[in-house]
Amino acid sequence: MREYAFFLGCIAPNRYPGAESASYKASEKLGIKLLDLEGASCCPAPGAFGSIDLNVFYAMAARNLVLAEQMKKDIALVCNGCYKSIWEVNHKLKHNKELRDGVNEVLKGIDMEFKGTIDVWHLAELLYDPAIVGVQKIRDSVKVPLTGTRIAVHYGCHLMKPRKERHFGTTEHPTWMEEMVAALGAEPVEYRNKMLCCGAGGGVRGYDLVHSLDITNEKLINLKEAKVDALTEICPFCQLQFDRGQIEIQEKFGVSYNLPVLHYCELLGLAQGMTPQELALDLHGISCEPFLQKVL
């Protein structure tokens, strides 16, 4: 069993607890144990904090990293926004001495020091990596195959982009998530402009909600065209934007899509036999019932 410090972030534990619960249970069946990272905070939000003062952004993320360093465990997380903060700051501080010294000067005041002794992973990349889990093992763990459903993938931005700083290869047309969806027995569906942003990031959701929803709406139009039963993603902030966003789009633009939006961990949990109650799917803004009826 591989052990990781589980960095929760904000939206998964505080808005979609089913995604958190499913992450523990589903990954344990696949040989990954997620441990509590006591005292972790917001990553901090890369759009908000990065825009205000990058030095604060580095120091706040470093504090979370040091907590995991003290546990001597690599971090695993389930949110692209958290990945941007935690992975990127870890990477930058490891390779930029000036930056690291600056951050440590601040952390000294709370008896902490960034040493650069751990790595940071998105749970999705751990699940996909054949050296750790791999698609075959995911397939073997499925008890309730999602046969007959058409599922589209939203990759989000901050896991794979900017491409040159990351290690995921192409960001124009990736297909590794589709492989993971197919492993659950569902049919992965391609749609127009798949890599378009959900519209929430960079503080835009808070700054200009209608602008941000208009981007989401464009994605939803493209998804409707592809006739999908559900959308899956690996970022609770994108999940919030698509799920609660559909209600806001209904209010502001008068269009409704009723497209269920599930985090990949929720989908995986469902396929491994967790019930909708165990996934708290009733907390979703958009009912997952039509999708569940096809599956269960």
Binding site: L8, C10, P13, N14, R15, P17, G18, E20, S21, D36, L37, E38, G39, A40, S41, C42, P44, A45, G47, A48, F49, G50, S51, I52, D53, L54, N55, V56, A59, M60, R63, L107, G109, I110, M112, C157, K161, P162, R163, T171, L196, C197, G199, A200, G201, G202, G203, V204, G206, Y207, D208, H211, S212, D214, I215, E218, Q277, E278, A280, L283
Partner: protein, 193 residues
């Protein structure tokens, strides 16, 4: 007159008049943006791939290419006071496609940092700061969610600063070190009374 190509006289005059720009140029702005962003806007040849890739461009007057040009020319005031500065979703599509290996997204982030130094910032950014100062979370827990967590067999509060509030002190120390909370409170109060 420097150029005599037979343009209409008014245009000739305008082309010759560079003072219009020089007054507004701050060469140190270019350098500061490059330092904070750790990227190279001076390499931009204005192809426009960034704007073409931008999800915000089709639905607003936000043009990332224009901001990169402003960085290069040192047009500090024009860049920092433009409300479009805050429409970047930081999706990094422009960065992935830039043929000159510039990270326009990071140019925007650097400009936002510099704008904040002049108190130019939308309040929603500051409210996130205030929320984190109080609870450690930008999106804090609530009672509906606590009940749902318990039903799932999870503890009502996650093992973050929510269940271990003694860690909030460290977060407050960092935010106070940069005087961020103080400035956030001041600006929010000025705007909202």
């Amino acid at each position: 007159m420097a150029r005599t190509k037979g343009y209409p006289e008014a245009l000739e005059k305008k082309l010759a008049d560079t003072r219009l720009y020089e007054d507004e140029r701050h060469p140190e702005f270019t350098k500061t943006v490059e330092k904070i962003s750790m990227t190279i806007p001076h390499m931009c040849y204005q192809c426009g791939t960034c704007t073409a890739s931008c999800p915000s461009a089709p639905r607003s007057s936000y043009r990332i290419r224009k901001f990169v040009r402003r960085a290069l020319l040192g047009l500090e005031d024009e860049a920092l006071t433009d409300p479009d500065l805050w429409l970047c979703t930081t999706c990094y599509s422009c960065t992935d496609r830039c043929p000159r290996d510039i990270a326009p997204t990071d140019v925007i982030m650097a400009m936002r940092n510099l704008a904040f130094k002049r108190d130019i910032i939308p309040v929603n950014f500051l409210k996130t700061v205030q929320a984190i100062y109080t609870s450690g979370h930008g999106v804090p827990n609530n009672d509906v969610n606590r009940a749902a967590r318990k039903k799932l067999g999870l503890p009502a509060d996650p093992p973050t600063t929510h269940r271990f509030p003694q860690y909030i002190k460290g977060i407050q120390y960092i935010l106070d070190y940069f005087e961020l909370k103080k400035n956030a409170d001041r600006i929010v109060k000025e705007r909202e009374g």
